[in-house]
Amino acid sequence: MEIKKTALAGTLESSDIQIMLSKGTNGIQIDLDSEVAKSFGDDIRRVITTVLTDFNITDVNVKAVDKGALDCVIKARTIAAAQRALDTVNEPAWEVL
């Protein structure tokens, strides 16, 4: 699936994560900013990558600003950003959820 437009989901509140997806050409590129990057950076990247892969998104630039979000939050924000970026907000991808 191709990114149609740059899209954003999430806030910079404590325990949230803000995910921005934009067009890319070189696979899934994640730029992560997180206070817990040392302890949980790999986990956060893995959750984002899994969701994007479920959407069949192969080339995308991801900007993730994490404020200590749990996996469920990261997943939800990535799904929201992906649907906005793919312009499929009105057709929820149930199988991904």
Binding site: K38, S39, D43, A69
Partner: protein, 512 residues
């Protein structure tokens, strides 16, 4: 080598600095030789000056130990002013031995480290840019972290030998009689600074309020003071009460406070004449409000509260629920300003408060203490020093000292953001699990298995459910996941002393 908590310590540094590994919380009855300061004799008529630079130039020399107090907290103007002059004069290789370092001092200390002015530091703690710099190896010599009681002990026995103490005060007369109670930049108790005033070879007071002689009450006395330096302003009154103190509305913290209160009121210590201390964390502060209701309901009064004092404590004093407030420092404006009007708000020095090498310290008389934690592990060891990234961002404070209370309660949310508070192994042990009795989180109360008496007692209380500390740890990990272990280099950037002067843990340089 390892200490009794199985913490790995650096052999070479331990032997170079003549340190022993931590063994036990028991202090025993050793005989201690205290030291005394050098006194330059004078009748005291030539102490007043406005030339701070000359005072620094004539008294501070390469290789000396200098000290400051942190009673002005984030409103301190004295530290940066004095350190600026010291750096301008090109003085090198100083040991910085303040009672603690607040955020407003960070940038100056980092600059002084980079310029070679400061090469050694001992403090209660550090945060922000300074903690970050030290954790990344800015200083060659390891920082020595000491509790407030431990610092008093080290000053008394000569482990810390202060050459010059620069002490800001909101009032002083021309001979140096001073207190923290009157003037613009009032901070109340001078508790930590009283050690410096008593033991430093040279004592330099800085004040913006020269009053007529003789000034009383004299917490610092003319017999201890060499110079009285007049400056424009010693501190910003609006920032003295900021920093650690905040009043919580967080429902999670309020729930924890309520649970802590039920631990206290259902313990054998909650009876008329009991004593207690609270830390400055959100939940710890809120406990006072719940405790007050329980005291009124049960017709129970406290004989004293101890340590760092906040306004809610002063309210208890004014309402007659507490007989004496034994005050080593004041966390907010209300507590600071009330000292002048309350004869039962007694200023105490750090030795009287918490020094283990004593003929009795007040912490040894304490029934209940409520403290917070960055991390607590399944052996009940507590970390209040390094964050989840391994970087220094805290202070020992009175944590180790107050934990000698008969009932030590650690309270904290189970997780903060994505960081677990209850973990398998804390990054840095500050307070040993042997002195911790109960851990309270919003998900449950865990009692140290060594306190079977408390377990039996609490199991009789309807509605009070105990969990094991391992259960709390597992629950926290279920929520946040298993963190990747932190990576450090082989370099030791700091040693944490236990209050008796043995080494309880080391802090290593973080790998980035």
């Amino acid at each position: 080598m390892k200490n009794s908590l199985n913490r790995e310590l650096p052999d070479q540094i331990m032997s170079d600095l003549n340190y022993r590994p931590f063994e036990s919380t028991e202090i025993g009855h050793p005989e201690i030789q205290r030291t005394a300061p050098v006194v330059r004799v004078t009748t005291g008529n030539d102490k007043v000056t406005d030339d701070l630079e000359a005072v620094v130039k004539n008294n501070v020399h390469d290789g000396m130990t200098i000290s400051f107090h942190h009673h002005f907290r984030e409103g301190d103007f004295v530290f940066n002013r004095v350190m600026g002059i010291i750096m301008d004069l090109g003085i090198k290789d100083l040991t910085l031995a303040p009672s603690s370092l607040t955020n407003v001092m960070n940038d100056t200390v980092v600059k002084a480290i980079n310029s070679g002015t400061v090469t050694h530091i001992t403090s209660s703690g550090m945060r922000g840019s300074l903690g970050d710099a030290v954790s990344h190896g800015a200083l060659k010599a390891p920082v020595i972290f000491r509790s407030h009681g431990g610092r008093a002990r080290a000053i008394e026995n000569g482990d810390i030998k202060i050459d010059v103490a620069f002490l800001g005060v909101p009032n002083a007369d021309r001979l140096g009689n001073a207190n923290g109670m009157y003037g613009d930049a009032v901070f109340g108790s001078l508790g930590y600074a009283l050690m410096d005033a008593q033991y430093a070879n040279k004592v330099v007071l800085l004040t913006d309020n020269l009053v007529s002689y003789p000034n009383t009450p004299a917490s610092i006395k003319q017999t201890q003071v060499d110079y009285v330096v007049e400056v424009d302003k010693v501190g910003d009154p609006d920032k003295i009460g900021s920093g650690a103190t905040r009043f919580t509305k967080d429902p999670k913290e309020l729930k924890i406070a309520e649970m802590v209160n039920s631990v206290i009121t259902n313990s054998q210590y909650f009876q008329d004449g009991f004593s207690f201390q609270t830390g400055s964390g959100g939940a710890a502060l809120a406990v006072t409000r719940y405790l007050k209701e329980s005291m009124v309901e049960n017709h129970i009064k406290a004989s004293f509260t101890l340590g760092g004092i906040t306004s809610p404590m002063i309210d208890l004093l004014k309402e007659g629920l507490v007989d004496k407030v034994m005050d080593v420092q004041d966390f907010d404006k209300g507590a600071a300003s009330s000292m002048a009007d309350n004869k039962n708000q007694q200023e105490i020095d750090a030795s009287w408060y918490a020094d283990p090498d004593n003929k009795g310290a007040m912490v040894d008389q304490l029934d209940v203490v409520i403290l917070s934690a960055l991390e607590v592990d399944t052996n009940f060891n507590v970390n209040v020093m390094t964050g989840s990234d391994g970087v220094i961002r805290g202070a020992v404070g009175g944590h180790q000292d107050a934990a000698t209370a008969k009932l030590t309660i650690i309270c904290s949310p189970l997780v903060r953001g994505r960081n677990a508070t209850v973990v398998k192994d804390v990054a840095t042990v500050v307070t040993p699990g042997d002195s911790v009795d109960v851990v309270v989180t919003e998900r449950g109360i865990a009692v140290n298995p060594k306190r079977q008496d408390l377990i039996d007692r609490f199991n009789q209380v309807p509605g009070m459910k105990l969990v094991s500390i391992a259960d709390l740890q597992a629950e926290a990990e279920k929520i946040v996941g298993e963190p990747k272990p932190l990576e450090y280099t082989d370099r030791t950037v700091a040693l944490v002393e236990y209050r008796d002067g043995t080494i309880i843990d080391q802090i290593k340089e973080v790998k980035d």
